[in-house]
């Protein structure tokens, strides 16, 4: 599964599709302090990217995929 919701974090893997945007949004709404693990994520659809940008959750692990990592640097753990 590209998206795995855990107790306190969500793990995004491979490519996260447009269909996941809604559930991702509602999970982040329900878990205001929830963390995001992008380690094995290689691409996430624009819709999901928007959700992350709007919710600004803390990113626990940045992607290992170098290209995606570069793009998401602004999101990076701060």
């Amino acid at each position: 599964m590209p998206v795995e919701f855990r107790k306190r974090s969500v793990v995004l893997r491979d490519h996260v599709t447009v269909e996941e945007a809604e559930s991702l949004l509602s999970w982040l709404q329900d878990h205001p302090r929830g963390q995001v693990n992008l380690k094995h994520c290689r691409h996430l659809h624009t819709a999901c990217l928007q959700v992350l940008l709007a919710a600004r959750p803390s990113i626990r692990v940045m992607p290992t995929d170098p290209d995606l990592r570069r793009w998401l640097e602004t999101l990076g753990p701060s």
Partner: protein, 124 residues
């Protein structure tokens, strides 16, 4: 995990040419000869990662197919590419307006195919 592509074209030559090309790129391919057949497959639970359709087809044509696909609950976001010829500028725009993601210009080479699909399907 191979991505699945639905190829819709009334020409068997075009279909199998695309199929061969796509399979060489590691895609799984299903085919339909017109819009009605394609729509029936989608309604039957087939969920391709991409739909590749011709415009002119007997029965349900490509433009109608695009409109119909976008009406199906599970297919609001599926990328759809239309196969067009050089001169079908107006058709391409119409297709885009109706919800197509992009187009390919026939004859479609393997390189064109890969480059275009890379733009709409991640990880390919």
């Amino acid at each position: 995990m191979g991505r699945t592509i639905l190829v819709v074209d009334d020409s068997a030559v075009m279909r199998s040419s695309l199929k061969a090309n796509l399979e060489m790129q590691g895609f799984q391919v299903r085919m339909a000869a017109d819009g009605t057949e394609a729509l029936a497959q989608l309604k039957n639970g087939f969920k391709p990662d991409l739909v590749l359709t011709d415009i002119h087809m007997p029965g349900m044509d490509g433009l109608t197919l695009i409109r119909e696909i976008r009406k199906l609950p599970g297919f609001r976001f599926v990328p759809i590419l239309v196969l067009t010829t050089e001169s079908q500028q107006a058709k391409r725009e119409e297709a885009r307006r109706l919800g197509a993601t992009g187009w390919l210009v026939k004859p479609v080479s393997g390189v064109d195919l890969v480059n275009t699909i890379r733009k709409v399907l991640p990880d390919t």
